[in-house]
């Protein structure tokens, strides 16, 4: 039933319900907004609700935040923006290519090949570290290079055992997001420090953080984009194939423009994930590339519960995403495919 079909009192009840829900969802935001304008005394003195009536607004929290008394605010904001935008762009770009390949081409992967990779990678590392006396970093690199070479080589040979298809590959991607991120964050930190010991600094660098975010956004991007690509009419691409359009041009010139709403939605979701991410940023950064969630959380621990400062920092973390979502949702209009078929 549509709301438009409601008559008389029903309409008013529906409106009242909607307004109640609106108030419910908006109140926390409102509370954060006014708290950021309260003086320390105003916060601890008991609840006040309306600026200029209940309490006299003060800019002290914002002054402290913007003047840098509360941590490297500008630096953090810029780091968050750069890492967020570049990681989501990269993840969307790489992930949509992978998703397209998984939709349009059939892959066959022997289970034995995958097992071989795992065994050689882990076994090689253990042997290198424990028996050959290599350091962690080099033995890891050697083991993975050996495992990859062996896996690629063995996939060309006839191997017994079950063959995995595209859906198995997608499941493998998505399964990376099934375990708690702390598992990966800890391992990643150890790996980054080991690589750092080899002379390639990754902890608290742009490359290290972006790389981690791209890797951890890819499963979601692939999963989402696969659905969008599957919904595209294959005939449009076939028409281009018959017309001798090269595959890369079909992808960039036809497939990507057709899935623009999907790309934007996926970019938005990835950006939100990266922007709000806390755990990896906590492990993998220390000062130079710290992100906003760390800064916001830091407000709590440094000098006790200073809610006015926390509120100002939280608002700064929220507002860019609200603006981004507002701009991008306009581009996410549906009906872009209209006219392609039927």
């Amino acid at each position: 039933m549509s709301v438009r079909a409601l008559k008389g009192n029903g309409r008013w009840w529906a409106l009242a319900g909607c307004l109640l829900w609106l108030a419910f969802t908006f109140f926390p935001l409102y509370w954060v907004a006014i708290t950021s304008f309260k003086s320390p005394l105003g916060v601890v003195g008991g609840p006040t609700f309306i600026p200029f009536v209940d309490f006299e607004p003060s800019l002290s929290a914002w002054n402290e935040l913007l003047s840098g008394q509360r941590g490297q605010f500008y630096n953090t904001f810029i780091a968050s923006t750069i890492v967020g935008l570049s990681a989501s762009l990269l993840a969307t770009a790489i992930g949509s290519m992978a998703a397209y390949a998984l939709v349009r081409f059939d892959f066959e992967l022997k289970l034995l090949t995958a097992l071989l990779f795992v065994i050689v990678a882990f076994g090689g590392y253990l042997i290198g570290y424990n028996l050959l006396g290599l350091r962690q970093g080099p033995s890891l690199v050697y083991a993975f290079v050996a495992a990859l070479t062996l896996a690629v080589g063995s996939s060309r040979v006839r191997l017994p055992g079950p063959v995995l298809g595209n859906s198995d590959i997608v499941f493998w991607f998505v399964s990376q997001r099934m375990f708690p991120p702390i598992v990966a964050a800890f391992a990643l930190f150890l790996m980054y420090t080991e690589i750092g010991k080899m002379g390639f600094k990754l902890v608290d660098t742009y490359i290290g953080l972006t790389f981690a975010y791209v890797a951890f956004s890819l499963p979601i991007v692939i999963w989402l984009m696969r659905d969008f690509f599957e919904a595209l009419p294959v005939e449009v691409e076939e028409a281009a194939m018959v017309d001798n359009v090269p595959t890369w041009r079909i992808f960039f010139g036809i497939v990507l423009p057709m899935s623009k709403p999907g790309l934007i939605a996926t970019f938005m979701i990835t950006l939100a994930f990266v922007w709000n991410e806390f755990l990896f940023a906590l492990f993998l950064t220390s000062s130079r590339w710290q992100t906003l969630p760390i800064l916001v959380a830091g407000q709590n621990s440094q000098r006790g519960d200073e809610w006015w400062a926390i509120s100002a920092a939280a608002l700064v973390a929220i507002i860019p995403m609200v603006i981004m979502a507002g701009i991008l949702s306009r581009l996410m209009r549906s009906g872009l495919l209209l006219g392609a078929i039927k």
Partner: protein, 363 residues
């Protein structure tokens, strides 16, 4: 020269064979229609010519080139799809010119080709519109325009008119025929609509379960169907079939069904049918050959179940013995349901098929 030749081409998906070895030669400049019920392999055959499906075995040649292993883009075919498959984010002009642009043709040449195609297809006024601002018929014309500018060796049409309404379909039918006459290019056209096949083709290839049942010009298909399948598939309303056997009755032959319908066979036909005496056969007669009442014509009693007045004539639908039977009767006949009418049968237009193999006999 753009002859298309399929030699012993097979196709199987996984372990399922959809096309047993198939041989088909399509002459240069010929308009060939592949027709058959859904799942008969006609679209798969077309897609194998286009290169969108790889033939499992066999050889496909276009002109004197062996294209079996070539990718679609190198076969110099153009394909028009049932659902148009336009690029939705490009204008009509960009849609038509995209292939040329990708191949690096100069802007002036593209413009010339696009405007020429637009002129042929009456699309001039719509060149700057996006496909979603076009009607179904216009969209299909854009798709045809995209095919024309390629100047292909072969045009491939995959049920291009199925999504259009009935009136537009008839218009486009004529347009495509005129286009063929003007462009003089080989066309392979797939449809499940036998009327489309009959009206457009130089030669119709009737397919069933991946096999070619008969390949001939439309009139031959209609008058001399090679077997039961073709006889039943071609013609609307479709041919009536009575199962029975041929029997010797004195010097003459007669056809008799188990439930007593009796059709004497005139001497002009009996000579070639004599071999089949005693065998179970199927008699086929088209509804349109049951209308002329000549005294010498044999008649069949038909119990009418329904009457369909169509204007030019009326269809009486009922049963002859136990078999379904549709008779065409003159318009304005005072027939109502539950009547039993005697339907005259034109003996020269009767078809006979062996029940065991379905093969036509007596011609």
């Amino acid at each position: 020269m753009s002859q298309v030749r399929l030699q012993q081409v097979t196709k199987s998906f996984g372990g399922v064979s959809v096309i047993p070895p198939l041989d088909l030669v399509i002459a240069d400049k010929e308009f060939v229609v592949l027709v058959g019920p859904s799942g008969c392999g006609k679209t798969t055959t077309l897609r194998m010519i286009a290169g969108l499906e790889q033939a499992t075995s066999g050889e496909i040649r276009i002109g004197d080139r062996d294209v079996t292993a070539l990718r679609p883009g190198l076969r110099n075919c153009s394909m028009v799809f049932q659902n148009y498959a336009l690029y939705p984010h490009m204008t009509v002009a960009e849609n038509i010119g995209y292939g040329m642009k990708v191949r690096g043709t100069t802007k002036a040449e593209i413009e010339k080709a696009v405007s020429e195609a637009a002129r042929i297809l009456n699309l001039g006024a719509y060149l700057n519109r996006k496909p979603n601002a076009l009607s179904g018929g216009q969209r299909q014309r854009v798709a045809i325009g995209r095919a024309i500018v390629r100047q292909p060796d072969v045009f491939l049409f995959d049920e291009p008119l199925s999504n259009l309404d009935a009136k537009l379909r008839i218009e486009m039918r004529t347009e495509i025929k005129l286009l063929h006459r003007r462009l003089q290019t080989t066309i392979v056209y797939v449809t499940h609509d036998q009327v489309e096949a009959m009206t457009m083709a130089d030669r119709v290839v009737v397919m069933n379960q991946g096999r070619i049942e008969q390949a001939a010009d439309p009139i031959t298909l209609y008058e001399l169907p090679k077997n039961l399948f073709v006889a039943a598939f071609i013609g609307a309303p479709s041919m009536n079939f009575l199962e029975g056997s041929l029997e010797q009755s004195g010097t003459a032959l007669e056809f008799r069904t188990a439930d007593g319908v009796l059709v004497p066979i005139p001497p002009s036909r009996s000579g070639k049918l004599a071999d089949a005496v005693g065998n179970p056969v199927v008699l086929g007669i088209r509804p349109e050959h049951t209308m002329t009442a000549v005294p010498s014509f044999p008649t069949i009693p038909v119990k009418v179940a329904d009457v369909e007045p169509l204007g030019p004539h009326t269809l009486a639908i009922g049963t002859a013995g136990s078999a379904a039977f549709t008779a065409q009767v003159p318009a304005g006949s005072a027939i109502v349901h539950d009547d039993i009418i005697n339907v005259p049968i034109d003996p020269e237009k009767m078809h006979f098929f062996l029940k065991s193999t379905g093969e036509a006999i007596g011609r």
